[in-house]
Amino acid sequence: MALVDRLTGLLLVGLAVAYYRLAGEIEVGLASDLLGPQYFPKLLAVALGLSSAWLVVRSFRPAARRNEPVRAEAERLANLWIALGLTVVYLILLPHVGFLLLTPVLLGAFVWVLGYRRWVPLVGTAVGVSVALWVVFAWLLGVRLPPGLLDA
């Protein structure tokens, strides 16, 4: 945890600096109040910078190493990255291919990645969920889901 804290802290200090500089570029119009649009964000940036710097300092203290978390359960981090990757690809393709054609593919692949291999429930769920969502959102709630290739 100490190393993670140190890296996160450094990252957040960087974020605070970048945010502060962006805040300085905000246009101050004439029709504003006393403090203007820059003041509050700059205050936040300073507070974040200081507390993140403290996080970095704290990570060097010997006590930081005592609280190492013990991970009892086996976890599959790979699953997370694959699921995330699948969704990213899905979102890139979605406007071109369309909701009804692409969503079953995403959901099916997602279920498969999680280690489920019984084909009938897998395909049934992927198609069933997609169609159900289409019916509820596009049909009942009137949301215009991307039609993609099905756009006639």
Binding site: I26, V28, P41, S51, R58, L106, L114, G142, L145
Partner: protein, 498 residues
């Protein structure tokens, strides 16, 4: 006063409202029963549906979900020793013990009925406390609202997580998210990075769905352990009068604890049920039965977590400060419908506030009936393999985020927020503090600046106005208390070493 309640009941008894409540309670019980979907996640998943609904019905439906989820969580706790919601974690101890003895049906009945009594008690407490408190808030001006928002953020950041420093950082990051969009005073865009989608700011409900629900999906896909399947018949047996008489002390303790925990920020149902269990064991005539299938051990936590459903709304409705995940989602839904919590809401939109009060009573009755009927379908759903369930939830969050503005941008945002929420939980940051920063950020900044406009730029206004001074003092105490404790620890260690 009475006519306001009449308005409320008239609103809640509209067929549309009743349908919304019934749907909310049913989904709450089902979602609550599914491990991984807590009450707040069940509420977050339903947010996109509340868009097109009338505001009062939308809030009634969300309150129904909250109430239903508290019972739903105990179904899985009792039947398969897995808490469906964090609030039901402690119910496992005696609930599952009863189930092993073949008395699961009795445990479910007790959970259902004591939860109902807790829920009804909490509505009464809510009504008695919220109406006078909302009058206190009438005296509030910009300085007080700033101080209140600041105090609320300090409390959540300091108390709700494991590490105070990370809680503060989380709250600050949430506040930064809130600054994205058009500046309320000057009208200039801030931190939009030239992206037109960000001119209106980050939609709170997108952040909520991402940080609460999507992060949970990510959490679940990394866990390899599947939850247990329930084999056998699930039934509910309602408690007898003599049993209920025996359970009365447990229900009273549960009600007191639930009220206090609902009022305090950062607690919520899980802490309340835990404390109620311990206190009931301490005062019980049969403490030796606890852990071996005590019906009091089911009644106390299940009363307490249902009491929280009403009392957690008190700080939210009167002052606009949510103290738990579910209350934060409630605030998100109110913002979506442009309802500003506080005393003016009580005056200007009585059909919303009093309608909500009435609906809480009705939803508790619904919980009693629907909870009895929906048990079997619930168990069937819990037995559905986890990957299939997760894919359904994934589809729902993607479409839900898309439907907010019918734009793919929010789906990207929800995904990013989900990853952020996952990493925050993994490394002990405080997701609730971040959400609160985001939903309260606007109110905190606007009132800070407005107070200074009113005082002509004099910063002393925050300490010269008594209520504001007291709130800021408490905020300071909240921030410094852990530091002081740490200082004393170090001193003691030094003393021992010498």
């Amino acid at each position: 006063m009475l006519e306001l309640f009449a308005i409320g009941f008239a609103e809640a008894l509209k067929p549309y409202s009743l349908l919304a409540m019934a749907a909310g309670v049913t989904w709450g019980i089902i979602g609550g029963a599914l491990p991984g979907i807590s009450g707040s996640i069940a509420m977050a998943l339903l947010l996109p549906f509340t868009f097109g609904m009338p505001s009062s019905a939308a809030l009634m439906m969300l309150a129904g979900v909250y109430i239903g989820a508290m019972y739903g969580g105990s179904i899985t706790a009792i039947l398969i020793r897995t808490p469906g919601t964090p609030g039901a974690a402690i119910t496992i101890i005696d609930g599952y013990e009863l189930q092993r003895r073949g008395e699961g049906a009795r445990a479910l009945g007790i959970s259902l009925v004591t939860g109902f009594f807790g829920g009804v008690a909490s509505v009464l407490i809510l009504v008695f406390l919220a109406i006078p408190l909302s009058r206190v808030a009438l005296a509030f001006q910009a300085a007080e609202y700033f101080a209140l928002g600041f105090f609320g953020l300090c409390l959540i950041s300091s108390l709700a997580g494991k590490e105070q420093l990370k809680g503060l950082i989380s709250g600050l990051v949430g506040l930064m998210f809130a600054t994205i969009g058009t500046d309320p005073f000057s009208g200039t865009p801030r931190f939009t990075l030239g992206n037109v989608n960000l001119i209106g700011g980050i939609e709170p409900i997108v952040a909520i769905i991402g940080l609460f629900a999507v992060s949970e999906i990510f959490q679940q896909v990394t866990e390899t352990t599947a939850w247990e399947k329930f084999k056998g018949k699930a039934r509910t047996v309602l408690p007898t009068w003599s049993e209920l008489r025996r359970l009365t002390p447990a229900m009273i303790i549960g009600t007191i604890v639930g009220t206090l925990e609902g009022l305090l920020p950062g607690g919520g149902g899980s802490v309340a049920s835990f404390i109620a269990y311990n206190e009931t064991r301490r005062w019980s005539k049969h403490p030796e039965e606890f852990g071996h299938g005590s019906i009091e051990g089911v009644a106390a936590p299940e009363t307490a977590n249902n009491v929280v459903t009403g009392t957690a709304l008190i700080p939210l409705l009167t002052f606009g400060i949510p103290g738990s995940n579910s209350a934060a989602i409630f605030l998100g839904a109110m913002m979506l419908h442009e309802l500003l919590p506080g005393p003016t809401l009580f005056e200007k939109r009585p059909e919303v506030v009093y309608g909500l009060f009435a609906s809480l009573l009705i939803s508790n009755v619904f919980m009693l009936v629907i909870g009895y009927l929906v048990l079997k379908p619930c168990v069937r759903l819990v037995n559905v393999p986890k990957p299939l369930l997760l894919s359904g939830i994934l589809g729902l969050v993607l479409v839900g985020a898309y439907s907010v503005t019918s734009d793919i941008f929010n789906v990207w945002l929800v995904l990013g927020m989900g990853l952020l929420g996952y990493l925050m939980r993994r490394y002990h940051f405080n997701v609730l503090a971040a959400v609160l920063g985001l939903v309260l950020g606007f109110m905190v900044e606007v009132n800070f600046r407005r107070a200074l406009v009113l005082s002509g730029g004099d910063y002393l206004t925050f300490v010269e106005r008594p209520i504001s001074a007291i709130l800021l003092f408490f905020a300071l105490v909240t921030l410094l208390l852990p530091l002081w404790r740490r200082f004393r620890e170090l001193k003691e260690q030094a003393g021992e070493a010498a």
